[in-house]
Symmetry: C2
Subunit: 214 residues, 2 copies
């Protein structure tokens, strides 16, 4: 895709680089020439300029991109740029928020998606602390999600004997075994020492499974 | 758990609040009195002070916490505080990094886990852009993971007729329907307009499912 990233702070810069690695054509704009020069070799193109200026956005081809991401903490600039990009009919505009109020304003001016990296990572980290040895947690609904749980404590046992359903109202969706994934395993399957269980359930129940297997 | 959070920037503040919501006793320290006063009602206790001062850390009870999280962008302060906390035998010390170099240094001085929120959210967002209408992607193995995919294009059809297994080598692990989760649905189940499918498969195949259902 053709993607515009406005703002090369830590989030914007890492985003521009990762999107490029995934094969997208990324053009970035920042008013800081040093930031622009640093990233220029690593992405499609990087331009120095004021992204709140609609003429500048036209010059760099903003109307032709399929996705724009506005990555600045400052509310006024990010709201202005988001508004300009929606007026220029950019199909998808994502914007970074630096507070809950900022998030609300961005939603009101039409941001298709709002990201608050520091808050979202804080929530994810807080949830993984709850289940300290769970390798990762993916929320599906408030308090309900999927965790990756090392299975060593259950090595040799069948899923039926572990009875996660009966004890924790949790279901094993898959077993990660080395570089393989066994999807929707049979209850008669036996767990191996290095397996990681991909389990769905309430987050507090998942935390109990992790604690019980410690 | 008893948890210490050092630094009340956006990440530290959101972390302290979310850990408290999950039932932990959180003490926070920041040198900015305004930040400390703002958060004080919402957590166990908040203290104004210089966290690089080992005496201050002793005074606030750092040796008695089970987990400490150092949440500052400035390399020198975060490395100093991490080192003090490890010397004080705090069992788990996590630290926030603001660059890859910062991450390396924190690992060298013994941080048990390093988090770089802006980079990690940028990577996640870049991956979810790859499958643009997927609501979220959870990696299990390189190129293999779980995505949440809106099912509106399939409304009224059975899972069997959609044949995601035959066409995309993907499996529907669950259906998110309003506030409910239907885990390991039957092939005869019919998809409803607002359903979100929780699907496991290769990331490029998941992206194809999303594009095909556009
Ligand atoms: N009007 C503007 N036009 C172009 N670039 C801008 C404009 N305003 C700010 N920037 C750039 O946006 C970038 C990010 O700014 P800011 O400091 O607000 O980000 P941040 O959200 O704190 O960053 P981080 O992602 O590191 O947390 C800076 O490099 C800055 O030069
Ligand atoms: N030596 C110290 N002792 C206590 N608090 C400190 C010390 N040094 C910095 N802080 C506090 O740490 C907090 C975070 O600082 P900093 O600006 O480095 O964070 P940041 O990582 O950019 O924040 P964000 O999470 O918003 O991205 C600030 O509130 C600051 O007052």
């Amino acid at each position: 895709m053709h993607i515009l990233v406005a703002g090369l702070g830590r989030f914007g810069r890492n985003l521009a680089i990762n999107l490029t690695r995934l094969g997208h054509d990324v053009i970035a704009i920042d008013q800081d020439q040093g930031e622009v020069q640093d990233i220029a070799p690593d992405i499609e193109s990087a331009v120095t300029g004021d992204a709140t200026d609609e003429d500048v956005l036209l010059e760099i081809g903003a109307p032709d991109v399929q996705l724009a991401i506005v990555a600045m903490a400052e509310v006024e600039a990010s709201v202005l740029i988001t508004t300009h990009l929606k007026n220029l009919k950019v199909p998808m505009v994502f914007a970074k928020a630096s507070s809950d109020v900022h998030r609300t304003i961005l939603e009101r001016v039409g941001a298709d998606r709002v990201i608050f990296p520091e808050q979202e990572m804080a929530v994810r980290l807080a949830q993984s602390v709850e289940a300290p040895r769970a390798m990762d947690y993916f929320e599906l609904l408030p308090h309900l999600g999927i965790a990756q749980i090392p299975a060593a404590a259950y090595a040799g046992r069948t899923l039926a004997s572990m009875d996660l359903r009966g004890r924790y109202n949790a279901a094993v969706l898959a077993i990660k075994r080395g570089n393989e994934l066994v999807v929707m395993p049979e209850l008669t399957d036996r767990v191996q020492d290095d397996d990681v269980l991909v389990v769905v359930g309430r987050d507090d129940q998942l935390a109990e499974i992790v604690d019980a297997s410690a």
